[in-house]
Symmetry: D2
């Protein structure tokens, strides 16, 4: 068993990491931390009482390096970089759930802040297993993708060669509130969200450039992406609608998708429209496609906290450690 | 006061019609009916106890004609036609909430069923006041638009001249469950819907052809419309995302919208993203627009039961009877 | 028309007051305020665009007194007292939605804080119209009841003479999140509340003493009240279950309730279980009762923001100004 | 590994049984059925695609007996009896999730229907492990308790000796909609339930007599139980409030509970109020208690589909087969 650490156990993705690692027979949880420590994990998360009993540390890379071989960082962007840099220097493998190592330098600095670890940035591997499996197996630093980019890229990458660079690609995304994190704000107040839906940062959200960049890197195409996220009155789950114009109306989109993902453990191509309850609690991405002339509609569903963050992170760790991709990964949905 | 009748008082749109007409100082409710009668309205809808006391009749056009000048039909398609035909023959003005008189004959027969009242179909006026006000004032038969078409057309019609006929127009629509009606089905079971979202009839929904036809009739353009509806885990409200490619990137979309609707009582152009709680309970349509190069995104919010059906129907009746458009129409949202 | 002011227009009860007063033909809104001013009401509450346009002032009692005869205070406890004291001294009638004038001095000081306006406290009238109508008509200061006490007292007061002072009276209450107010906290974060239910402050909530005190004052009985509130994953609405032990098993509880409230405009005794959607948006209190031997169960439903606060406040203002109790009060539910 | 069968795989509790058994290392799923067969389980439940592939049979006891040692019945009452009778005769152990074997004959026949298997009824063991562990280990037929009785009995049984037989015990229960099953009805239509809460069958629900009977059998006390269930606008989860009058005000209720359940794997006594998200997805029952003089309030939370049905059924099967109580039972909550 490999010894693992989790930093950022107060938040939702941190909790989801623990939920997976507690029962993972290939990983032993040796160190868990947040910014303050001084509490037990079962006090911090009462649902874990009688499940695990462990003290939460005040995060310290040197202490992590003493007891762990691999560390998951569930921290805000910018905060992550400081930890990752030190951990890598101490020989600890890192899976970072923030945006800090996901993008090329200029993209990162344009949409986030000045980068403080350019050396490791150049070595980081984007943690989308369906497209970077071999690189993930051979790296010490994985940059876990954003939730919206995961759902969008899995849907759209198989079709890139069929889109014109001149046409627009539209992504109408819808996410549960857990994606906004625990931080208190008017936007996440129950009374604001319940029975409501609205877009936020339309066409300006930082996941737009992430999607665009990965399409460029993987398919060498510069597409005009309009990414428009919405907040849904649900706790978890994400449904992404992709709308594009095909340059070849004769393709059989469904057959193409099924062929493309036939070896993929965690992508299911569905004959009927997908929904978010069927992927909730799992690492699956369900995809449905419909076409009408040159118009293509792809509907992609994931659990934003799992495939969009924590379970995909553990899949990446599995690969980094030579385990089977799906070792210890939950496949049983939170349904009904 | 004009005497009015409502047929179909068991369902949601029927109840919403009553809620408006009860307090409408220009209309007197003289006849209310469903398919069975034999019950009081306050038994059928317990929230109306101490608000109104009236018997529900088993719908009979001859009886309606004896006591009413104008009749609202909140019935399924096909059933409506039979009533409308007889009522018009008896001299009663009709506002029909079904699809029976909304479309041109061939479109109707392609997507619904054989039409049984072609004569009146040719005289019916599409009840979208912002575009057909004069015709509505002068007709005896208004075909109330579908909910999705109302939200979509209000958003998109101002921009039609800026879309190429060759490009695709995508409509990603999201509606509350009341739009599916009272009929029991697995799709509307609480456990299916709660915390969930999914598309249904993507690109095949009958509101697609309705939108396409009205764009053709009003703007003489044949656009490729891909209409994709989704079911939201909310009771009421509808948010429509329209994605199109402009043939002129220099237009100021927001200024254009504000100018287009500057005289419209019930359309509000917003500077920030719209949401469905702010229009719930009212006849307002709130619209927000964002552009990025040639990509145009319009977000349109209405209450599917009100602006999408019942309040728009009463606005139409107001116009047919020479009243002010907003006479007796609620403008105070169900918010928080 | 009487000129009215509303202080505290940022919050939910403040917004609900405006929603009623905007269309109230007996009241003219002359002054609206919050703690900061410097904004228009339609910017503060975007759903009010095209409904009302008015500047929000930074609350100042002297300014209020210049333009208003009656003032609604939708402020936190303690803050209210300062305003009320000055307004009364300036001759303005006050309807206070806080707890500041609801209780006897010792009860208030035990559960809230030192009272700063004992003189007016002794003159204030508890604004529960079914029990204090004549006093409300003749007072200049109404203390609007708490939401839970309103629903509980309306349910339980008709039966007090049938409860033993030695037995326990249990109140299991359930409220929508708007009752907690706009203030951000982990408890009202969407992710905490959605799909969840839990009690808070069981047996310690300050509405317990309020209920107990009013029972004592109105029926001269000292009952042991156990008041246990719960937070519901809904925006608005309140359902209260009252469980008591009758000292006379022969009473017909339903007949007693119907008789007791036969003249009450806003209390409906139902033959089937009540629900919160049927009272949402209105000033109604729906009550259902079931008995089994000596066990009595009463189910009471109100809209916590309306009958539990704002609409009851306007009813009180109606009475203070010599209007009909239900003048301008909404009776049409937010249903479906 | 013991071979197991599940009959009734279409419904929610049937699905939950499969979700547990699929990964249970002590049980091998050899036969799954509903009333029609002729479909694969992954077609019936699309979330199970890539998780399990197995045909669903049309339920036949003789076929079950050929391939299974133990059979779970997730069927409606009355239907279950016919299957159980035949299976037992064929030597198959049975865990029945219906009410058919839970009650004494007269209670069953008073509240359900004529019993068709009195012989086995007299041998059946009530499957509440905290109270019947040894009997469960030695039986071939377990009658799985109702959901409401599970949550209520776990809360109340430790205190029975402190309640007077003359006083009333009130149970105000609140359940998610999955408890009503898949059957379509107006009560479970999303529009009826969303944002709503109401009681149903107050004081008449069949779980009342079940609770009363078990208290009598286990503690030899005849208490007056008033059981009042409510439907909550959530998918899963159950919170039960128990209100009783203690005959001894000096007891320390929390200490008593902690002592009572100190050996119980699946009962957690909490210092803060319990909530339903923290037990969702698990077999845990969380209990909180508060007292005030002679008034006792107990709050008990379970997942209605799991501890209230399917996971408790598998715990019972574990005991019947000599496994550890918690073998293969999920302890990780569906939270956030």
């Amino acid at each position: 068993m490999k010894k693992v650490a989790v930093v950022g156990v107060s938040g939702y993705t941190g909790l989801e990491l623990l939920k997976i690692l507690i029962n993972h027979s290939g990983f032993e949880l040796t160190y868990i931390a947040n910014s303050e420590g001084n509490i037990s994990i079962e006090e911090l998360h009462p649902s874990l009482e009688k499940v695990i009993s462990m003290d939460v540390q005040k995060a310290d890379p040197k202490e992590i390096a003493k007891v762990s071989e691999i560390c998951f960082l569930a921290l805000p962007h910018k905060t992550s970089m400081a930890f990752a840099k030190e951990l890598i220097a101490l020989g600890v493998k890192v899976v970072d759930l923030s945006a800090d190592y996901r993008l090329e330098l200029n993209t990162y600095e344009e949409f986030y802040c000045p980068h403080e670890d350019k050396e490791n940035l150049s070595k980081a591997v984007y943690g989308l297993p369906e497209f970077y499996k071999e690189q993930i197996k051979n790296t010490d630093l994985v940059a876990n993708p954003g939730c919206y980019p995961t759902a969008s890229l899995l849907a759209v990458l198989p079709f890139i060669k069929y889109f014109d660079e001149r046409s627009n690609l539209f992504i109408d995304a819808k996410s549960g509130v857990s994606g906004a994190g625990k931080k208190l704000s008017e936007t996440t107040h129950f009374v604001t969200v319940n029975d409501n839906i609205f877009t936020y940062n339309p066409m300006k959200h930082r996941h737009g450039p992430e999607i665009k960049e990965k399409i460029k890197l993987l398919e060498n195409k510069e597409l005009n992406i309009s990414f428009v996220p919405h907040l849904l009155p649900v706790t978890r789950g994400m449904l992404v609608s992709v709308y594009g114009t095909l340059n070849d109306e004769t393709i059989d989109a469904k057959a193409l998708l099924k062929e493309f993902y036939k070896e993929s453990t965690f992508v299911r191509i569905k004959d009927k429209p997908v929904d978010i309850k069927s992927t909730a609690g799992t690492n699956f991405c369900d995809i449905f496609v419909e076409q009408n002339g040159s118009a293509l509609f792809i509907s992609s569903s994931i659990d934003n906290l799992l495939r969009g963050a924590s379970s995909q992170a553990v899949v990446n760790a599995n690969l980094m450690c030579g385990y089977e991709e799906d070792h210890g990964i939950n496949k049983i949905a939170y349904i009904p």
